[in-house]
Assembly symmetry: C2
Homo-oligomer: 679 residues x 2
């Protein structure tokens, strides 16, 4: 009988006895230990690296002696000399069990390894890819048994990887024969395995061992901005992130104007479909270039978006989303070929996954936020606000989750703001206004100094000071209110009323000048009465949506607020609360989740089990329709003011004394100059 030895794997703690000479990889597989391998134990892919431990292990009740693994062999030596191997590491497929042994599987050797997310409150992502690589050795053809190369390849996948019933596109079959012969009957295949149990598809084939990696896209398709991460599917790492304006803006700034455009123009919907697809292709191309990634190695994309963007991306006329009952063409998740969406800057057999929509006005982006922030697993009552041109709002805990969307308009993204701009170098992102002197200081994106710090002028010379981004305008309005430049109704005082020459008349209202570089040929950056009205409308819509959910939940307050959105991370919680964007909670209970929708997309990209999870979760989320809810209008109207009354920040109250009555100017009442000008 063969001698058997105890093998203990860490960190899993899995253990078993194996005959002397068993390769570590084989022992790991038999125990179900998560040890990666692409080459199937041939000593060429190095994915199965392990670290043997020697010495006494009282915890495990074992003593590991030298010689517990077979000697370092020529395969490992060749690998180390060619590619490098950390000292102490062995290849699991080469090292054989020769005595009792404790073996550590380092994170990078685990298939289901954790990807650490930056946001402190967020769980990590466990890698569980839909597209994976498999190295196979294919039997050579034989005249006696005339099966095709593809059939022998399928046989190899079955025998060497226990993967059965593979499907393949005609375009892969076309390159099969040359690739197999170039690889001398050794090839790597990329296999896409759907989370819904469809037959696995061979999406790519390379001669020999493919070492160029696999990449994927997590795309957050917003009404105003399209943001995307290009991820390395081997490590989960984000290789490049970028955003572009959604070119559909030229057809309408907010969702309902785009729906109207589709209604009023025969080819309106298809024009918008084409525009967004072209923009995504451009974005993908620039991401690939930035990261130095071959676009044909991008095999998957996960896209999240609101229902109107969702339909326009898919080539569906969104007209039904513009009228009750706001019927979606499809609400379930979709798994499509990228090429069916004209996405041609990726591998031509790449797959696209679209998260499910929650309802006609609560889209796959809200689902992605739910996947990322998991209100359905929260112990306390969390209000999650994804701020964008359309805000997605989730309220709930593990007993119940409600969702709605609220049409905030593009003001929070710096659009419809006189000096507004995208968050880019040169944009003012932080503002403070001295409540006594009414003088502003600010910071611009890309520069670490404040505008009154020494060296600021030199530091800002590159980008210039070009405008105000979304987080900047929020701070500006809140600071103007704190400094007494705005009255509670949102009216900007005159120079005399406020006591600063920065308040200048503009038409029948006033503006507040933040930065005036006109003398040097630069811009005039000011906050106009119209800007204030736009922000008031946006924040009222946001607040009304949150209140509506609180009413439905039967609560007067929430335990915590999570600000999300492409620029959610940049919003100052204090200013958001001064402005009345969000219900009052203690400041330390306001968290920033960054681009939670984008993160949700990234989770779905890296972990296919999460796709099943969110598909299940969305059915448990109760959707509230703001568009037909009278209380929404009521909350909206009530939220228009910036009363600064329920002030949660005593430290602010100490600094500023707020005017209790409004300014009286030229008949422009509290209902907003912008509305009247437009009306």
């Amino acid at each position: 009988m063969t001698t058997e030895h105890l093998v203990i794997f860490t960190p899993s703690g899995k253990r078993g006895r194996f005959p002397e000479g068993t390769p570590v990889l084989q022992a790991a597989r038999q125990l179900g230990v998560d040890l990666d391998s692409v080459c199937g134990g041939r000593g060429i892919c190095s994915k199965c690296q392990i670290t043997p431990s020697y010495g006494e292990f009282p915890k495990h009740g074992v003593t590991v002696q030298d010689g517990a693994l077979s000697e370092w062999n020529s395969v490992e030596e060749r690998y180390k000399s060619k590619r490098g191997l950390i000292d102490g590491r062995r290849l699991g497929c080469q090292a054989k069990v020769m005595g009792d042994i404790v073996i550590d599987v380092p994170p990078e050797s685990q298939v289901h390894r954790q990807v650490v997310r930056k946001a402190a409150t967020a769980r990590d992502i466990t890698m569980d890819l839909a597209t994976r690589l498999f190295f196979i050795e294919v039997r050579e053809p034989d005249m006696e048994e005339p099966t095709g190369d593809l059939e022998r390849m399928a046989e190899a996948l079955k025998l060497q990887w226990e993967i059965d019933n593979v499907r393949v596109d005609a375009s892969v079959i076309g390159k099969l024969q040359t690739t197999l012969r170039k690889g001398k009957w050794q090839v790597t295949v990329a296999l896409f395995q759907d989370h819904r149990g469809e037959a696995p598809r061979i999406v790519e084939i390379w001669p020999g061992l493919h070492e160029g990696g696999l990449f994927g896209l997590a795309i957050d398709l917003g009404s105003t901005t399209i943001a995307a991460h290009l991820c390395d599917l081997a490590t989960g790492e984000v290789k490049a992130s970028s955003g572009v304006m959604n070119p559909q803006i030229r057809f309408g700034e907010d969702l309902m104007s785009r729906v109207s455009y589709a209604m009023m123009n025969a080819n309106g919907a298809s024009e918008m479909t084409k525009a967004v697809r072209v923009a995504i292709n451009g974005l993908v191309q620039s991401l690939a270039t930035e990261a130095g990634v071959d676009p044909s190695l991008i095999f998957e994309a996960v896209i999240v978006c609101n229902p109107v963007m969702h339909h326009l991306l898919l080539g569906i006329d969104p007209v039904e989303l513009g009228q009750a009952p706001f019927a979606l063409a499809t609400s379930n998740s979709l798994s499509l070929n990228a090429i069916d969406l004209d996405l041609d800057q990726v591998n031509k057999r790449a797959r696209v996954y679209l998260l499910p929509c929650i309802a006609g006005h609560v889209g796959a982006d809200a689902a992605a936020v739910a996947l990322s922030e998991e209100p359905n697993k929260s112990e306390d009552l969390a209000l999650i606000v994804d701020v964008g041109t359309n805000a997605e709002i989730l309220l709930g805990n593990k007993t119940k989750v409600l969702a709605c969307s609220s049409p905030t308009g593009p003001a929070f993204e710096g659009a419809q703001i006189s000096a507004g701009q995208r968050a880019a170098p040169g944009a003012i992102e932080r503002i403070e206004i001295d409540p006594v002197t009414k003088e502003p200081r600010f910071r611009v994106i890309g520069v670490d100094l404040w505008s009154d710090d020494e060296g600021f002028s030199e530091a800002v010379a590159g980008s210039g000071i070009t405008g105000i981004c979304g987080s900047g305008i929020i701070e500006a309005v809140a600071e103007m209110r704190i400094a007494g430049i705005l009255d509670p109704s949102g009216l900007i005082g005159s120079a005399e009323q406020v006591g600063t020459p920065r308040c200048v008349p503009e038409g029948r209202t006033n503006s507040y000048v933040i930065h005036d570089a006109r003398a040097e040929g630069g811009p005039l950056i000011s906050v106009t009465q119209g800007d204030i009205r736009a922000i008031q409308l946006a924040k009222s819509a946001l607040y009304a949506g949150a209140r509506l959910l609180m009413d439905e939940m039967g609560v007067e307050k929430v335990d915590r607020v999570v600000l999300a959105g492409a620029f959610g991370a940049h919003i100052s919680p204090k200013h958001a609360m001064v402005l009345g964007m969000i219900p009052d909670v203690p400041l330390e209970k306001v968290f920033s989740a960054g681009n939670a929708a984008g993160t949700g997309a990234r989770i779905a990209l890296l972990n296919k089990a999460s796709r099943s999870e969110i598909e299940k979760t969305v059915h448990q989320i109760k959707k509230i329709e703001t568009a037909i809810e009278p209380r929404f209008q009521e909350h909206f109207v009530n939220a228009n003011a910036i009363p600064h009354a329920k002030d949660p920040f005593p430290e602010l109250s100490k600094i500023v004394s707020l005017p209790q009555v409004g300014f009286n100017t030229k008949g422009d009442g509290g209902d907003g100059g912008r509305r009247r000008r437009r009306g």
Copy 2:
């Protein structure tokens, strides 16, 4: 308790007792009687027509009285007045059981009805379609339960038809909402259900009841000719049939010249791929026009072809098929999107099924012949020869089937023949030569008279006499041999040797003039020595292939011969045997199967179970490789002569006395003028 009545269905004989008032359709479904319905019993599709029988039925032990079915109702009346209904017919969904009843289900009301094939020896085809229509009523959207239209449609398919887990392309989702609303939430969907158990796919949707039908294509993609049937999938009927030359001919006349072209030219394979796809599109377009069929109603195509055509159609470089071990890129059947093969003259979501290949030189066309002719079910030993540029040969019975292919070249299709042409009006298709006078008489395609019949000149005036088609050249050569114009080596005698001025010198050899219209500005149609050599090469290859299989089977003779091929139906068995194309069997044991490959394609089109069947069958067929088999060469050389020695037709021997020695002319020996000229 409700009264129950006995219901007996014919022709199935299925019977059961049902409560009074049960609709006949429901009774049929419960008993598993094959009664069609698209609308699911709503009285609008008329597919469930039945004929009740009244009176005494001693065989069934029942007497059916008037009133055994509910009275003719307004739904039936409306249907009859609008669309017509044969007298005595009822709609199974409207007529309710009110007494013991015998109900006949006419063939056209059966889903699995039989399509009668013309060839007398062939079994009928049982309809069992992969693409079928389903009429559904979809629940309207509701704000309270925000599922998408697609999800409610899937729900309807599940509730109303027990079809679960449907998939849908993005392009169908795009038209979902308008179609549902146009149809007032009643729509017809076309569902493709793969024979391999993949999830069903919605491939089309129409408002209300779709009455425009569904169509499919059975395509026989040959080296020289592409032939196709356009079939009505409702009836199985062939609506139009047509053929075009394979434009790949310009890259090489036979398979190996095309493989060479691909080897010698960088884009050779893709040029040929493009050419054949364009030609198929053109053919489909002309078929649809001819049949008056909307191309977007063509949902399926089944394509059969030899391995080189198969690979070139798929965009696979066929280079491996040109060298041992003749490895196919893929041998299994393929189920693809038509659009992946650039087939754009069909519905854009149409599917293509390619039959499996048997081996590197024995393709899906041979598999289709096997499906049509079923040698694997034959009691006697059948030799099936599919004559084309490449001949597919099957030999076997229910214990064993062997297959090979043989490179006959295009001579049998009238190509490489001096006066050769496609089988089309004006082509000589039958020839007789008087053994005494050596004068020919002939018939041309499209005219029922022989050339020496009265009125022939007038009858032929339309088309003219333009050339000789494949069957014509076979008869010509055989008749020339019978008439002593050819010696056993295949040499044409001179005018003096043969004793007719129709033998005229041409270079160093002689030609035999069949028709000379040069005086009237018409063509000279003659058989040259080169033509004889081409036919000798072709028939030797065919015969050698058959002999090789017989050797492998260990037999000296076969029980029957089936001649197949696009023009197989037109070959005269007698002449084929005189020529030595096929082994000797009694003349009544030679059958014509017409275009058996095309028929196999049609079977696979109309009966999806046959796809599984042939996929299983091909694995049981043993393939013999002619290209590397020394005995093939031996048989080929031995078969070159036209000895007419083992004459199975005593009646011929009585008529003609064959010259026992060859003609001696100008040094052109028995190895063929054509070869030497080319060499």
